[in-house]
């Protein structure tokens, strides 16, 4: 039993790193121990710049592969698998009740499965590799109750953008965010991952959904380890409770250069852009690509828009391939990228020139993130981005559904 505000030392169940494992290895060597304490808890997934776009990235990947072999780390996923948050979930390390620390801010994603999952820096991962321990402050909890039914053309992305826009980028700083209520229970696992992923954009330490039948169904085919479902106490204390009826929420867009600069689509309709991005760890799952394909089927994207599609993982890629989704997207003029982080963090595969604008399903629109500091990023749902790609300007997806 712990209480909010207590500082405790824990031994996490799994610790994630990605391409930044190369830097973590450097820090780990400085500690002066020869072997990692618990190799089976280390999960390394190469995703940020895959395949290597330049020699320095290639060297990082090589350093990581050599370390994995040297330390006998069993859970290593090379460049063919996809984005760490999707791959770690599919490989079923994201289990109810597990404590997962990751050197990536969107580690919060695993809360969709009822895990406690939080982002940390590289140095902390190096220290965990050596000690199998980390200090954590037990967070207060912000409860977000979602009621009602989402309207056609509205998805989980619109809900979380609306919440962040209303409450600000630091509303949940250092807190746990529990998503609950009938509309949360109605959501697919993929949609829950959108909310848990973007809880990071409210400053949250972690997101959380109570595991239910959908969670168990997802885990049934996958779970490799035992797990224990951890739920909120009936008399749990909350920092606050925010209540939303999703029925009245319209499609939303986060405008440059902060994620909380959110406006309903009808207010920003008509803004032109040069590149569209559909995918990423936020919105790169089958339901996201399928809604885009539904809108783009038999049509061509606007000739002045480069439309990039970024499936979150190879599993998603194959599912979308078998379902004919990738064919529809390719026929409409989209560029299908390999599963990975792509241009989201500004390293490769679609970098913006000065004066260019992107409409993206990713989770961050900070100045300069996807290229030039003179470029602009708008964030929206897959349906909004697909509809907008057809017209070359921000467009309400409801007219295409």
């Amino acid at each position: 039993m712990v209480r909010a505000g207590e500082v405790i030392t824990v031994s996490p169940d799994y610790y994630l790193s990605h391409d930044n494992a190369a830097a973590i290895i450097g820090e780990f060597r400085k500690i002066g121990v020869q072997a990692v304490k618990a190799p089976q808890k280390i999960v390394i997934i190469l995703d940020h710049i895959v395949p290597a776009a330049a020699e320095k990235y290639a060297q990082n990947h090589k350093t990581i592969r050599e370390f994995v072999a040297e330390q006998n780390i069993p859970n290593f996923f090379d460049i063919q698998h996809g984005i760490c948050h999707q791959v770690l979930s599919e490989a079923s390390f994201a289990l109810p009740g597990k404590i997962i620390m990751g050197s990536d801010s969107h580690t919060t994603t695993y809360g969709a499965f009822g895990a406690f999952a939080a982002g940390i820096g590289r140095t902390e991962v190096a220290s965990i590799w050596a000690t199998d321990e980390i200090w954590l402050r037990v967070p207060e909890t912000l409860k977000i109750e979602l009621a009602g039914t989402m309207s056609p053309g509205v998805s989980a992305k619109d809900i979380i953008l609306k919440i962040i826009g209303d409450n600000g980028a630091d509303r949940a700083n250092y807190m746990a965010v529990e998503f609950t209520g009938p509309a949360a229970r109605d959501m697919t696992i993929a949609s829950r991952m959108v909310l848990a992923n973007m809880a990071a954009e409210m400053g949250a330490k972690n997101g959380y959904f109570e595991p239910d039948d959908k969670t168990l169904e997802w885990l049934e085919k996958r779970a490799k380890a035992n797990y224990e479902i951890v739920t909120s106490d009936t008399d749990a204390a909350y920092e606050s409770v925010l209540r939303y009826d999703v029925t009245s929420i319209e499609p939303q867009v986060a405008c440059p250069h902060t994620v909380d600069n959110v406006k309903p689509v009808p207010v920003v309709e008509g803004i032109k852009f040069h590149q569209a991005l559909i995918g990423t760890c936020t919105n790169g799952r089958l339901e996201d690509l399928a809604i885009a394909a539904h809108i783009l089927k038999g049509k061509a994207v606007h000739p002045q828009v480069r439309t990039l599609v970024l499936p979150a993982s190879r599993e998603v890629y194959l599912d979308a391939l078998r379902a004919g989704v990738l064919q529809i997207l390719s026929e409409s003029g989209c560029v299908i990228l390999n599963p990975g982080c792509g241009p989201c963090l500004g390293a490769h595969e679609g970098i913006l020139a000065p004066g260019e604008v992107v409409l993206s399903t990713s989770n961050r629109n900070f100045r300069g993130r996807m290229g030039s500091r003179e470029s602009e990023i708008y964030l929206a749902s897959p349906a909004t981005v697909a509809a907008s790609a057809l017209e070359g300007k921000i467009t309400d997806p409801r007219k295409y559904l």
Partner: protein, 171 residues
């Protein structure tokens, strides 16, 4: 105490504008990182910052990515402390783990102006600017040990050495 001048910025200064993502996997040397510090927020900063200078900002400083270079590049640029109304969680941890002091003071954040000369009394928990004195809360006990050791890597190194010695004694 070191005297430095204030560089003042607003709310929600994020990790991407402190240290752009395009450099996160290519620049490894602190001196190189320093050249790009705050590049997308204030291109003048890296050219004109001097050792001992202080960054003063509003709420939620360091929000966004977990990239540690956003703390490392400021330390490498000679920044002696960041003073803000509040800090994003991961940034706060990263800064401590790398030995960059992060001080929470809403009053100093409001009052200090660009170019003001400040001194910081870390032991006494005071920010001194001319005749003005601002207090900041002492860091939690759990992190003081990390700072005293000179950062998390040194802290862990000492901890592991102590544990190994204890084990040898038993054996």
């Amino acid at each position: 105490m070191i005297k430095g001048k204030v560089w003042k910025y607003g709310d929600d200064v994020n990790t991407d504008i402190i240290f752009p993502g395009k450099y996160t996997y290519t620049l490894m040397e602190p001196a190189e990182m320093a050249k790009h510090a705050l590049e997308d927020l204030d291109p003048e900063f890296a050219r004109r910052v001097e050792p001992g200078d202080v960054i003063v900002a509003g709420k939620n400083f360091g929000c966004g990515s977990s990239r540690e270079q956003a703390a490392a590049c400021l330390k490498a640029a000679g920044v002696q402390a960041v003073i803000a109304k509040s800090f994003a969680r991961i940034y706060f941890r990263n800064a401590i783990n790398l030995g960059l002091p992060v001080l929470q003071s809403g009053e100093a954040s409001e009052s200090l102006q660009p170019g003001d000369e400040v001194e910081i009394d870390f032991a006494g928990g005071r920010i001194i600017a001319g005749g003005r004195v601002f207090k900041f809360p002492p860091l939690p006990d759990s992190v003081i040990g990390i700072i005293e050791a000179g950062g998390l890597i040194e802290f862990t190194k000492k901890k592991m050495q102590t544990r190994n010695r204890a084990r040898l004694d038993i054996e």
